[in-house]
């Protein structure tokens, strides 16, 4: 390869440049900002697809790790961006959720407050950066970029409920940031490095006196990651915050918990993977138990919730609990097959959850349509409701057959989150169940696997009951046709189409994820690439 592949840094640069451009225009140029934002999201999607292909190696099964040395400092001393299969999959997921959420926001929500469009791009920049970075402190910085943007987005649209839940959300995340800093500093103090691949080579060689310290550091770091991933009992902030957020914001927040899950997978399997000597599998049992508890907690939350956004907020818990439990079990028993099912399930359920957050608003919009909504917002702002009257036409033409379209999308998303055939959620759940039963068959002592099997099935049933109840109330028993702007249903349909594509192309997707999970348990390739890549300018005088 001649020269570095600059494509790796593109997922960070595209939203950064787009957001910087948007700041040049004032708030009246909303359409222009929306256009820039959509362009940026579409570009990110294209880049993510290109990176997915780049992360395959020549024969299509191995893990082609590519490295980008920022500032051309030699690794492991400089900050590196690392692209492997897992990072590429996560990037694709983020851009697949971001584009429809922004299309949806283009109908009404992008004009309900200040700076929606740039904050949205900065959020994506933080998310993409967190997926790509190979440096622990750089990860903290991208986390903070992401969180700072998410604070602004959560408060978008204002109102008492959003400010109240935003207060809790910010306080919880500030505490998480402190934990992250303590952990990262302790890692540096014990091992003298912040590069994750370098760290993975040093942890097995630590002295017995230092080992408790690195474990303490790992506990602090995973505390920060798991608050983001909303593991029980660190998850009580999530349903409130996601339920109160504006629908497109809640949809894109569905990625944020997956950032937490991603960092747990990356850090846990790399640093405490099977090669970690005395520290191998550290904390895996806690992760598994916490994940199982999260599924149970989310399941009861889904049953108890009355409105769809809150219900979906609890489904986020079920989804991230499933992933964390499987990661814990896969780490403890070295079972990549189950991990690939969890990755597929994560992909499908995140798309469906984002779609449900978007669906909640138009289905629930009964009286007054958008005018009523805007009047309420205007009141909260202390603005003049008259200003918003002419904007109703701006939301684009309303389309006929709204209930039918919304109903079909709702049913499809329900099938995915409940894990029923024939859609993608079923494929993911079936893979996890099959490999858990296969692995633990004849061994009742592996109660973690059996608990997972039971909880996966029961949580699917609970989701189905809650969704059917809500669907009957809101779609069947309500003959009022909701006002549905074309852009809103457009965003939802893009998500549904992505789910259908994932289902139709289940075989290649599953094969890609199997190789991804396989690569995650073999760290030698990742570490070797990060530790041996020479700077570009090294051979020049």
């Amino acid at each position: 390869m001649n020269g570095p592949s600059h494509l790796i840094v593109a997922p960070i640069l595209i939203p950064l440049v787009a957001a910087a451009f948007m700041l040049l225009y004032d708030e009246r140029q909303r359409r222009l900002k929306l256009g820039i934002g959509l362009l940026s999201c579409a570009l990110q999607l294209l880049v993510a697809v290109a990176l997915i292909i780049q992360a395959k190696d020549a024969n299509g099964t191995g893990n082609a790790v590519s490295l980008y040395l920022l500032g051309d400092w030699p690794s492991p001393f400089g900050i590196v961006l690392v692209l492997d299969r897992l990072a590429a999959v996560m990037l694709l997921m983020a851009s697949l959720v971001a584009l429809p959420a922004l299309i949806y926001a283009g109908a009404v929500w992008h004009r309900n407050g200040q700076h929606f469009a740039p904050l949205f791009q900065f959020l994506l920049m933080g998310v993409n950066g967190a997926f790509l970075t190979g440096d622990l402190f750089n990860l903290f910085v991208f986390f903070e970029v992401m969180l700072a943007a998410s604070y602004g987005l959560l408060l978008h649209g204002s109102g008492r409920a959003r400010v109240g839940s935003g207060l809790h959300y910010i306080a919880v995340n500030l505490m998480a940031a402190m934990l992250f800093l303590l952990g990262a500093a302790l890692v540096y103090g014990v091992t003298g490095t912040l590069n994750m691949a370098d760290l993975a080579t040093r942890v097995p060689r630590l002295s017995d006196a230092d080992r408790p310290l690195i474990h303490t550091a790992a506990v602090m770091l995973s505390g920060a990651f798991l608050i983001k991933a909303a593991i029980w009992p660190l998850c009580f902030w999530l349903p409130n915050a996601y339920g109160a957020a504006a629908p497109p914001v809640a949809a894109v927040f569905a990625i944020l918990t997956k950032v937490g899950a991603y960092t747990v997978i990356r850090f846990g399997l790399l640093v405490f993977g099977p090669d970690a000597g005395a520290s191998a599998g550290f904390g895996a049992d806690i992760l598994a138990v916490g994940g199982l508890a999260t599924i149970a907690f989310g399941m009861f939350g889904v049953l108890a919730a009355q409105d769809l956004s809150r219900m979906t907020g609890n489904m986020v818990l079920v989804s991230s609990g499933t992933v964390l439990a499987v990661v814990g079990l896969a780490m403890e028993y070295d079972n990549p097959e189950m991990l690939s099912g969890a990755l597929y399930y994560m992909l499908a359920s995140t798309l469906a959850i984002a779609a449900l957050f978007l669906l909640a608003e138009p289905i629930g919009r009964k009286e007054g349509g958008i005018a009523g909504l805007l009047a309420v917002t205007a009141e909260a702002y202390g603005g003049d409701p008259e200003d918003f009257d002419e904007q109703e036409e701006d939301a684009g033409p309303a389309i006929p057959g709204a209930t039918t379209l919304l109903g079909i999308s709702f049913v499809l998303c329900t099938l995915v989150v409940a894990g029923l055939p024939p859609l993608a959620g079923f494929v993911g759940k079936l893979t996890m169940l099959a490999s858990a039963v296969h692995f633990a068959s004849g061994m009742p002592a592996l109660w973690g696997h059996w608990a997972l099997v039971v909880l996966l099935i029961v949580s699917g049933l609970a989701t189905l009951i809650a969704m059917a109840r809500w669907g009957i109330q809101s779609l069947w028993a309500n003959d009022e046709e909701p006002h549905l702007p074309a852009m809103e249903i457009g965003g939802i349909l893009v998500l549904v189409a992505a789910i259908l594509l994932l289902t139709i192309k289940a075989e290649p997707a599953m094969r890609y994820l199997e190789n991804t999970a396989e690569a995650l348990t073999q760290n030698a390739v990742y570490i070797g690439k990060v530790m041996t890549t020479a700077p570009v300018g090294a051979d020049q005088p």
Binding site: L147, L155, G189
Partner: protein
């Protein structure tokens, strides 16, 4: 010196945690400030405590790194200070907005008794 530094970090973090768990928003924000002071000192301490060592190596020739202060924690602490300062400022704005909406400075937006 080690004792003084570790005691002060401990006191800062302990008071920070206690204040963060209090019901008034003002107490929470002061608690978060104290916590971030404690964390920043802790990051500094991770570069090992030395007195009178120069922060930057002179140019040319090999020098013994033991005689110089570790620059990495200094860079980390600078980043951490900037970020925690900015997020705390943002938090302050949200607290003011919450006070405006609810008329109380309780973190839940309502007094417990009412």
């Amino acid at each position: 010196m080690e004792m003084i530094l570790s005691l002060s970090i401990g006191v800062l973090v302990a008071s920070g945690v206690w204040l963060t768990l209090r019901p008034r928003t003002f107490q929470v924000i002061i608690g978060l400030c104290l916590l971030s002071y404690g964390v920043n000192l802790f990051i500094f301490a991770m570069g090992r405590l030395v007195t009178g060592a120069a922060p930057i190596m002179p140019k040319g020739g090999f020098v013994d790194p033991d005689n110089f202060a570790d620059p990495v924690p200094q860079a980390l602490v600078l980043t951490a200070i900037v970020i925690s300062f900015a997020t705390t400022a943002l938090f302050l704005v949200v607290i003011m907005a919450s006070r405006g909406f609810t008329g109380t400075d309780h973190v839940d937006g309502k007094e417990r008794d009412s």
